[in-house]
């Protein structure tokens, strides 16, 4: 484009020269009279012509404007505790004591020059947490409810009044109902170990009940404890880069693991084939090499269809199956139970199991089982048969036995690609093709997320996918396996955390699975009751009576005892609840006191009796870790606690102080029969360990000092730069090694260490009576979604891009980048059938 002369024709330019001269004269006169301020002079076109706006602009003094906007007084490091699995380290810039800009610190040390780094780590939500720090959602001082619960009527209270009120209710409740009616709930120590430990520590000291969270929010993949004996053990996201084949299966990492998603797009550029299996064409699918649409809730069938192909075409890794899975273990043909040592030998153990040794033609005890003294998966001279029917002499005579693999093969016959195609809608040829690729390309990995885990039969879904990872020998190697990511689930420096949170010891703590507690005390009527031979309550009673699962208060099922006080902190219990209407109708009336501790009013706060304002994530020392990487990330007080808020450690310490003032004491008998004399007058000394754990920074240091993962680290040093863990405890399935990304089950694969399952291996066969007889789930099978055919539409509720659970759901800057309100996507065809147009309210 030619440079036009001042945007005007020559004639125009000439005409305006005269006018300009006249106006300049007028302006000069007005200025001299003082009738016109100097700043307005330019408005009268007292302009010098700029000859070369491209490259030679003469009036650049104004540019200081934006330099000043960027100027800052200081900056500090923190992260966010929203259980998003990010745990990202952020740099917060401060000017005039206002935190005005968030930027990623981007200083995670590299693991290896051959892996992309974790820098920068964050997302658009973490980039604007300041909105909450200064927003109208923020709590300013303690509030005490004055209207009905949930009505939103409050009065301002002083800290002294609020805490002494809570303390008196606690003492009264322990006296009248016992300490196991006081329940403590927070979500996930990994997102804020100190905040979590503060409440748990007080619970431990006064005898209260501490609830679980990972099962309750349905982030737990139950197939992992069933198959692997672990809660979850997943690789850090850098190991995705080591994969050659990745199936993204119900894990929309572009939206739900934003800080880690680049390892997928990086791996793809590196030649890794990316397969996306989802019911909808979603953000991560756009970066896949193939998108495979599957009918909602049928993923398990698809996995079993792949297993069918892998087994039929003998694409499995037989040597791997023999050593690292229960596939060669013998099961009785008559009652389908494992063949146990107790079947064979008088006084034999029920937790020892057999192989058929092809070398000797005899059943032989497998090493590494739960009851075995030989704690290895090394087969030595045993050559286990993977298939066949054999005869063994038991204490009660000759019995036919077969292998788990033979049973599996039989079971998988139902899942030929044509049948599976009918269930899943996936082309049978495509099912076979991805099965063959998954078996051929090593290392291959399945990344799973909440999308497929929030189904009733999620355990079967998990087990089926782990099955194909194991059949192909991918579990325990870099770049391979089955990795599930939803929530931060466990805190890496676990030992120090346990010491801090449970000073009397974990064995002296009343722990409670939150799902069971909520289900029972809210009298939830379940739509899965009719699925099984017995109602759910029958199974619960059997489990509680056998001591498989604790249920507090003790005697609930028989005596009708019920909880009386609920503390919620750093968590939005009601928002998380499936069946919140039952909680509000049935559980809340049982509670004499609900205390919510948070930096903002959330849904749980709205239904609380007392709300205590906590410091924000910019205002305290704390620690965060995530399964997605191997660093310890600190929170630090970039600014002091704002308004009338306090750090969580301080709040719980102050509550300990208020309780100490009551001088209450009682003798507490624990479920194991032991007794503890609980004397509140020493509660502050106990809580602060005689003053050594006075501040939140002291406690964070205590965790670092007491954990093998963080040995030798100081809070000041990790504030200087995040550090990678130096070792892993027995709670993890692999070692941390310099120069290598963390992945699961290395100790099983490389070191032949048994897993904590009954058989000591990846266990696909479960011979519990419920599984064998009531559920018919002794091996992975497909079960359709509950009520899947009852309704015309399926409502998928994936995690979203714009919020983490309820946080940022009410944030203006996030909402402005959406449609102002929460949305649902509906197929255009389904919408038009219902007379709906885009943006209609539904």
């Amino acid at each position: 484009m030619a440079q036009p002369e001042f945007g005007k024709t020559k004639a125009e330019a000439g005409a305006s020269t005269e006018a300009l001269a006249a106006r300049q004269a007028l302006a000069k006169a007005l200025l001299e009279k003082g009738a016109l301020a100097a700043k307005h002079v330019l408005a009268l076109d007292l302009l010098e012509r700029v000859h070369e706006p491209i490259g030679k602009y003469p009036y650049r003094g104004w540019e200081t404007l934006y330099r000043e906007q960027w100027n800052y007084d200081s900056f500090g490091r923190t992260t966010h505790s929203v259980n998003c699995t990010g745990s990202c380290t952020w740099k917060v810039y401060v000017k005039n004591n206002i935190a005005f800009k968030e930027d990623q610190y981007a200083d995670y040390p590299e693991i290896s020059s051959s892996l992309p780094t974790y820098n920068p780590r964050g997302c658009q939500k973490g980039a604007n947490y300041k909105e909450y720090v200064y927003g109208p959602q923020r709590l300013k001082y303690p509030l005490i409810r004055t209207g009905a619960r949930g009505e939103g009527k409050w009065r301002k209270a002083s800290w002294e009044e609020a805490l002494s009120y809570i303390a008196s209710k606690v003492v009264e409740t322990i006296s009248n109902h016992g300490p196991d009616t006081i329940t403590f709930y927070s979500a996930n120590q990994a997102k804020f170990a100190i905040t979590y430990a503060a409440g748990a520590r007080l619970a431990n000291l006064i005898g209260g009940v501490v609830c679980s969270f990972y099962d309750w929010v349905s982030d737990l993949p139950p197939g992992e404890p069933m198959t692997w004996g672990v809660q979850t053990d997943s690789c850090e996201s850098a190991d995705w880069f080591n994969s050659k084949y990745i199936i993204l299966w119900g894990s929309n990492v572009l939206e739900t693991r934003i800080p880690d998603a680049h390892f997928i797009t990086d791996a793809r550029m590196h030649g890794t084939k990316i397969v996306a299996i989802f019911p909808e064409y979603n953000p991560v699918s756009i970066h896949a090499d193939i998108f495979i649409p599957v009918k909602p809730g049928t993923d398990c069938a698809l996995a079993l269809g792949m297993a069918n192909v892998i087994v039929n075409e003998v694409l499995y890794d037989a040597a791997y199956l023999e050593q690292y899975t229960d596939m060669p273990m013998l099961a009785r043909v008559d009652n389908k139970k494992f063949l146990r040592e107790s079947d064979m030998v008088s006084g034999g153990r029920a937790d020892n199991f057999y192989f058929w040794n092809q070398k000797t033609g005899k059943a032989v005890l497998a090493p590494g089982t739960m009851g075995s003294s030989n704690k290895t998966l090394d087969l030595g001279t045993i050559d286990p048969a993977l298939e066949g029917i054999f005869t063994v002499s038991t204490l009660s005579g000759e019995v036919k036995v077969t292998t788990v693999f033979s049973l599996l093969k039989q079971k998988l016959k139902a899942y030929d690609p044509a049948s599976v195609s009918g269930i899943t809608g996936v082309d049978p040829g495509l099912i076979a093709e991805i099965a063959r690729e998954f078996a051929a390309i090593k290392p291959a990995r399945i990344i799973e997320g909440a999308g497929v885990n929030h189904y009733y039969h999620n355990d079967l879904n998990n087990r089926s996918k782990i099955l194909i990872a194991a059949l192909t020998g991918n579990v325990g190697i870099p770049g391979g396996g089955f990795d599930h990511y939803v929530g931060q689930e466990k805190f890496w420096p676990e030992e120090g955390f346990f010491k801090l949170a449970y000073p009397l010891g974990r064995s002296k703590q009343r722990f409670q699975p939150m799902t069971l507690w909520t289900y029972v005390h809210s009298n939830i009527t379940s739509d899965v009751d009719g699925l099984w031979p017995h109602p759910i309550s029958t199974y619960i009673r059997e489990s509680v009576n056998n001591g498989w699962m604790p249920l507090y208060p003790e005697g609930t099922l028989d005596s009708g005892r019920s909880p009386k006080i609920l503390f919620i902190w750093g968590a939005n219990y009601l928002n998380q609840a499936k069946g919140a209407e039952f909680i509000i109708a049935n559980l809340l009336p049982k509670l004499d006191l609900i205390v919510d501790i948070d930096f903002r009013i959330c849904t749980s706060g709205l239904y609380a009796d007392v709300i205590l304002p906590a410091a924000s994530m910019f205002e305290k020392w704390d620690l965060s870790t995530t399964d997605l990487y191997t660093y310890i990330t600190p929170f630090t007080p970039v600014i002091p606690p704002q308004l009338g808020s306090n750090t969580d450690w301080q709040i719980w310490k102050d509550l300990a102080c208020a309780l100490a003032d009551t001088k209450f004491s009682f003798r507490d008998t624990l479920p194991d029969g032991s007794t503890i004399n609980r004397d509140f007058s020493t509660l502050v000394e106990d809580f602060t360990a005689k003053g050594t754990l006075d501040s939140d920074k002291d406690t964070a240091q205590f965790i670092l000092d007491n954990s093998i993962e963080t040995k030798g680290m100081t809070m000041d040093a990790v504030n200087e730069q995040p550090r990678r863990f130096v070792a892993t405890s027995e709670a993890w399935t692999s070692d941390i090694r310099d120069g290598a990304a963390y992945y699961g089950f290395q100790r099983m694969y490389e070191l032949k260490q048994p897993l904590s399952t009954l058989t000591g291996r990846q266990q696909f066969y479960i011979d519990h009576d419920w599984f064998l007889n009531d559920f018919k789930e002794e091996l992975p099978v497909y079960k359709p979604p509950v009520d899947g055919s009852k309704y015309p539409l399926r409502y998928l509720t994936p995690h979203g891009r714009w919020s983490i659970h309820s946080v940022w759901r009410d944030a203006t800057y996030q909402l402005r980048l959406q449609r102002g309100r929460p949305i649902v996507y509906l197929s255009p065809n389904e919408a038009s059938v219902r007379g709906l147009a885009d943006n209609d309210p539904v």
Binding site: R60, Y66, W70, T117, Q137, K140, K156, I286, L430
Partner: protein, 345 residues
């Protein structure tokens, strides 16, 4: 007179997560505290195909010649940029210890009616019929064009291009808000501030560039989409991607402004045939990409489509090379190990 150095940015659309961290990084630095800026996203991310931001900007035209001046529409704030909704927090959350009068957070104005829009209204909508639906993300800042029409459009000559880096700025003291520059930019990357009555725009974070730090949209990008450097620096990753490997294209080069932001066009998974078999055709039609991206104003749509295909072939063959154990400079560029590999300022 040409500038001494020209800053450039390449966005690899195969890396874009659509997460808007760039948008928020920019918003929270430059346009969240002063009056009249709430509708502005100096950096935005739009789902393509889609109406973009501001609405239908691609069809609004620009200051291609003086005669266009009166025919170019001026985007309306609520209907083109989107209303910056406000919320009734104080009615719902009585954090001051009082009664609440509302039970639900609601946006104001209500996002309904025919004129409703927002900067990300089209998020993830795209085009195509399931299972062959398609879309991709397009992050956009000011292109800091080599031949910037906004400079020509300003009757007060308040828009200029910096000598040392080619960054295009609006002089905030000289501007009087005639908003001819808003009309002049065919990418609609200059915004009118109705409160301050001045034009404002992406400044390429020049206070950061002057400190040899990257612009926030690029450095905060967690997808590691952006490469930033100087056009003249042959060792920079922008030079290598644009000039050496020729895998980056301009957005709407037919606008003739010579943008200095380039894009690596996005791959897409193959379509399914009517019988449910996987095809070898990418689901984003080449014509959709060719309509958006090209090298020069003179290229035909077919030539632009051929360039997209050529880029795909180049990247795919380098990708295969690495997959089978080889080395590739291009793939190394596309997998930046750390920030210094993609930002050289």
């Amino acid at each position: 007179m040409p500038v001494k150095r020209q800053i450039r940015m390449v966005a690899d659309l195969n890396k874009c997560l659509g997460c808007h961290t760039c948008t928020m990084a920019c918003k929270t630095m430059w346009t969240d505290r002063n009056r009249g800026q709430m509708h502005m996203y100096w950096n935005n991310v739009e789902t393509q195909p889609g109406m973009g931001y501001p609405k239908n900007y691609e069809t609004q035209g620009g200051w291609f010649n003086v005669a266009d001046r009166n025919s170019i529409p001026l985007p309306n704030i609520s209907e083109a940029y989107g209303s910056p909704w406000e919320y009734n927090y104080y009615e719902v959350l009585q954090t001051d210890g009082d009664d609440t009068s509302a039970s639900e957070l609601v946006p104001s104005p209500e996002p309904s009616g025919s004129g409703v829009y927002s900067s990300n209204w089209d998020e993830d909508v795209g085009a195509g019929i399931f299972p062959n639906s398609y879309y991709f993300y397009l992050p956009r800042i000011c292109n800091h064009c080599t031949d910037p029409p906004c400079v020509d459009a300003c009757p007060r000559q308040a828009v200029y291009k910096r000598e040392e880096d080619g960054i295009v700025l609006v002089d905030q003291t000289r501007c009087r808000g005639y908003h001819h520059c808003v009309k002049g930019c065919p990418y609609k990357k200059i915004y009118y501030n109705p409160e301050e009555k001045v034009a404002q725009k992406c400044i390429f974070c020049y206070p950061r560039i002057e400190e040899h730090k990257g612009n926030f949209c690029a450095t905060q990008c967690v997808g590691r989409v952006h490469h930033v450097g100087y056009a003249e620096d042959t060792s920079s990753s922008v030079y290598k991607l644009i000039n050496k490997w020729k895998v980056a294209l301009r957005l709407h080069p037919e606008f003739k402004t010579e943008p200095n932001v380039f894009y690596i066009p996005p791959f897409s998974p193959p379509t399914y045939s009517s019988t449910g078999k996987v095809t070898s055709t990418p689901r984003i039609p080449f014509e959709v990409l060719a309509r958006l991206f090209g090298d020069t104003p003179g290229q035909s749509l077919n030539q632009r489509a051929d360039r997209v295909k050529e880029i795909f072939d180049t990247i795919q063959s380098e990708r295969n090379k690495v997959a089978s154990g080889g080395n590739s400079e291009l793939i190394e560029l596309l997998i930046p190990h750390s920030e210094t590999d993609r930002i050289q300022v």
